[in-house]
């Protein structure tokens, strides 16, 4: 990461002298964007800013602000940064515009893969993908003669061996923090078992064998995890890796680069990436994308300028300067060793996160409800039944279920 910082710093100083990747046109229309605040957005928005007259707001409350700010007329922001799930409310409210004419005009360099289409119309331009996949300490696995785990059974068997050998404090790490993280773990495993979340009319359908199996896998993992797993988020798991406390985890691809950062990591070069462990049907992971959307409530002139500015942010130079910040979808990206796991997971058949209105509610209910099972306060099917009940109460209030 230090290396990356030097790179970025170097890039910035070059910008100042005007020798690097200056914007292809000079933007005259004042534009603003609202997005999440992680590293990739910083890279993209600072590339956009080179066109001038552009302010980026990287805000951790973007999820709450975006729907209202885009619904205002005129919209407070012209450009929005979204992921598959956070696009749903904007799309439902009709506050983001179809982009096909702009893509035809300015989007020659875009790959077809980047166009997020709903009923044939492009509504967003994706810039990167992210998913959870297996990271493991290659040195430990080699010492103990363990092959790279492919399924959850392999992972658990390997964890048992590592525990017996006493090499690390806890063989497994996991982003099991109650709330969104824990919900996401279940979603991954349930998708891995081939489960469907909803029946007809948005009725919940998770209380079945696949759901129980997903819970059981999670519970089996906790036996090898730090007992404080209910508060461990991805930053914490990443830190556990860096400090050499864990040997394996199904962790976000965006975290991979940090393992080899000499300023933080004590295990540089020892963490390798592989596909997410296979469930019964497919890898226990879901595919996410991040990308840009454009407000409906703005003038044609603004829309035109906004799209052009965004294209400058999503160009080859930006990717070349920030290659390891994310798994980019943009032309010019060279997948390094850090991206191997993410790609293997996708190639093994992981499916996109099933973002939708009801899924937002389901995810929250899962995140709040699973802890009781892991703590042993409820059995698996009671837990799932309670989660379904919580989902129904919220979905009825939202008008999604009769």
């Amino acid at each position: 990461m230090l290396f990356r910082k030097i790179l970025v710093a170097g890039a910035m100083s070059l910008v100042a002298t005007g020798a690097w990747a200056s914007c292809a046109f000079e933007n005259k229309v004042p534009l603003k964007s609202l997005s999440a605040a992680f590293e990739a957005w910083k890279a993209v928005t600072s590339a956009m800013a080179e066109c001038g007259n552009f302010t980026a707001e990287l805000d951790q409350e973007f999820r709450e602000k975006q729907p209202a700010a885009f619904a205002a007329n005129p919209a407070l922001y012209q450009i929005g940064g979204v992921a598959n799930s956070t696009m749903v409310p904007l799309l439902n409210a009709g506050t983001i515009r179809p982009l096909d004419e702009y893509v035809a005009k300015y989007g020659q360099q875009l790959k077809p893969n980047q166009l997020i289409k709903v009923d044939g119309k492009t509504y967003a331009i994706a810039m990167m993908v992210n998913n959870q996949h297996l990271m493991y300490r290659s040195d430990i696995l080699e010492d103990l003669g363990i092959p790279v785990p492919k399924t959850w059974d392999d992972v658990l068997a390997a964890a048992e061996k590592i525990k017996a050998a006493g090499v690390v404090d806890y063989p497994l790490g996991g982003t099991f923090k109650t709330g969104w993280n824990l919900g996401e773990e279940f979603v991954n495993n349930y998708l891995g078992e081939g489960g469907e979340f909803f029946g007809p009319g948005n009725s919940p359908a998770i209380n079945n064998e696949k759901g129980v199996r997903a819970l059981e896998i999670m519970k089996a993992m906790t036996a090898y995890m730090d007992p404080e797993y209910l508060v461990s988020d991805s930053t914490y798991v990443q830190q556990q890796f860096q400090q050499g406390k864990i040997a394996m985890a199904n962790l976000w691809a965006s975290r991979a680069a940090a393992m080899d950062d000499p300023a933080e990591s004590q295990v540089v070069g020892k963490v390798k990436m592989a596909s997410a462990p296979m469930g019964s049907v497919r890898p226990a992971s879901s595919l996410w994308w991040d990308g840009v959307v454009f407000a409906t409530n703005m003038t044609e002139e603004q829309a035109d300028a906004a799209f052009r500015v965004a294209m400058e942010g999503l160009d080859r130079e930006m990717v070349e300067a920030n290659n390891d910040v994310a798994v980019w979808l943009i032309e010019g990206y060279k997948p390094g060793p850090a991206a191997e796991g993410a790609i293997a997971t996708a190639n093994n058949g992981a499916v996109p996160y099933p973002a939708s209105g009801p899924m937002g509610i389901m995810h929250t209910a899962l995140g709040n409800g699973i802890a009781d099972y892991l703590k042993g306060a409820k059995d698996a099917s009671t837990t799932l039944a309670d989660i379904e009940a919580a989902y129904l109460a919220a979905a009825r209030e939202a008008g999604l279920v009769e």
């Binding site: 999820r63 709450e64 729907p67 992921a83 799930s85 956070t86 749903v88 409310p89 439902n92 409210a93 009709g94 893969n113 980047q114 166009l115 997020i116 289409k117 709903v118 009923d119 044939g120 994706a126 993908v129 923090k177 109650t178 709330g179 824990l182 009319g201 730090d226 007992p227 404080e228 797993y229 209910l230 508060v231 988020d233 914490y236 595919l287 994308w289 409906t296 979808l329 790609i343 996708a346 996109p352 973002a355 939708s356 209105g357 009801p358 937002g360 509610i361 995810h363 929250t364 709040n368 802890a371 009781d372 306060a377 409820k378 309670d386 109460a393 919220a394 209030e397 008008g399 999604l400």
Partner: protein, 341 residues
Amino acid sequence: MKFRTFAAFVAPSVVMMLLFIAFPLVSVLVQSFFVTQPVYDTVEVETCTPGFLGQICTTEEKSVPRRDENGRIVEVTRFVGLESYRNVIEPDRFWAAVKAHSWAAVQAIDFWKALRFTLMFTLVTLPLVVGLGLAIALAINNAAQAVRGPVIFVSLLPFIITPVIGALSINWLFRGDGILTAALEWWLQRDIAMFAQAWTIETLMVLYRVWHVAPFAAIVFYAGLQTVNQDSLESALIDGASRWQRLRFIVIPHLMPLIVFVAIIHLMDTYRVFEEIVGFSSQGHVISLQWLTYDYLKPDQAGNRSISRASASAMLTMIGIVIILIPLLRRTWRDHRRARA
């Protein structure tokens, strides 16, 4: 004071409170009796999203909100009476659990789980804050004049520190192999995980809150100690009262109004306990009433929020606080009558 003068003096303050608190409060009250929802149509939608190399397209039935000719989502609002309150309290489940004599089943219902912790937290921290505050105040009052300034300064630190930062520091100190957990482990010679079970987290929360609020109590009590009537102390001394008796019968009664004041402020604030839950990320183990409100209110990724249940839960929290405040209200009324007489 004439009414017009009075009105002129209080108007700015009252207007601001009406505009920014009373008005939203009324709308919360109204919302708790109504439910507003979009009208959904079920349509088949094809969505294409990126894999790594190729695109993945899925066609599914989705609920899409209906929009009017201006592009706004069509919403219907209907009166539901107390249904939102019922959805929060879940009386049927509660009675079933009570009839089954199952504490675990009661604690499986969010509202009752939150109420249990909120009450415990409020009632346990109160005596600790008052006691510790009093002890610190007496100790400062007992210290040499020269060190009082610095000691008051250090004592006030936990009170002034930004709550978000305070909770974070506790996290750094105790989380995983945080420095204080490591110290405890070394002292007790066993592995300790402070965030792995409910009781340790609750203990940490109580300790944190006491640490944070006791200085406020201490400084108020210390100020009160400066005005203790020296004559009565002296005559008590002549009567041969022991140190303890003097404390018990002269100092404490003198401080009583201040103790009540601190207790009331503390009760109001702890009943709304929220920062600790977020700061210690304890949702998996314990939740509080205000956290529950916040959880209903916070939009999920798809933008859904349970406004009606959040409003109901907020009203219930307020009712709880008003019940706690009744003793103070009666006292204020008496004072007021006296002032008028």
